[in-house]
Subunit: 115 residues, 2 copies
DNA sequence: GGGTTAGTTAGCTGTCAAGTTATATAATGT
DNA sequence: ACATTATATAACTTGACAGCTAACTAACCC
């Protein structure tokens, strides 16, 4: 999965589901097996398995294997990518208001200086 | 639209589409009319109109009216809500490693002190 | 009022995603 | 070899969503 648009699509799609957000929340506190992750939810295991695949496809989690277990691990980098997108656009937004402020100061200065 | 799970679902869903992200990107630089927003895309106006409705439903944009125009305005607060969710889980994650570091320091200390 | 510009609503189609049950794989324990 | 535990895959149903075209509303201008 490249770092492109595609990936942002997949990451935000993954975060759009409350079950998957809860799974991410759980994994932030430490790795866990599929059954552990499934426990809190009123959902069949295949359902959880699908959600995990979605999270894996966008790079939000990775899975290793340990005997019959496939412990899931949160990948912080993918979370950062989504964060980065939002922050960038907030910066653009903020810059706009900085300019506006500057403009208002200019007007003020003109009024004091001129006339 | 309350500030709940529902809203996060809607916000992340909205951000999962590249057209909508581009629209948000455009609006970060300043308000714009529907036609202005549509211009860069190879898509019909009704398509754009739908995307705008999605963005509006989750509170990411608001619309006023000015003659025949319905200028769109980015609502920073909604963007912040999504950001906040991600940041919170990164904090949990980071705390985990702080603990791990502390633990490793403890071991180190024990080894130097003990025996 | 008639035409033009700006935008929305309705109805359709194709695709994709979420959940299910039933079945399969893979490693463990006896 | 056999049963158990942990997880994945397959096949299916249902519901949401992206895109289209066609038709509508609303404000403006002459």
């Amino acid at each position: 999965m490249p770092l492109t648009e595609e990936r942002l699509n997949a990451t935000f799609t993954a975060l759009a589901d409350p079950t998957r957000r809860a799974i991410v929340g759980r994994l932030a506190r430490g790795d866990a097996t599929v059954n552990e992750l499934a426990a809190p939810f009123a959902m069949t295991l295949p359902g959880i398995s699908k959600h995990l695949k979605v999270l894996e496809r966008c790079g939000l989690i990775s899975r290793s294997r340990h005997a019959q277990f496939r412990p899931c691990h949160l990948e912080r980098a993918a979370l950062d990518a989504a964060l980065e997108w939002i922050e960038e656009h907030r910066r653009v937004w903020d810059k706009r208001f900085d300019k506006l402020d500057a403009h208002l100061r200019d007007i003020q200065t003109d009024q004091r200086g001129g006339r």
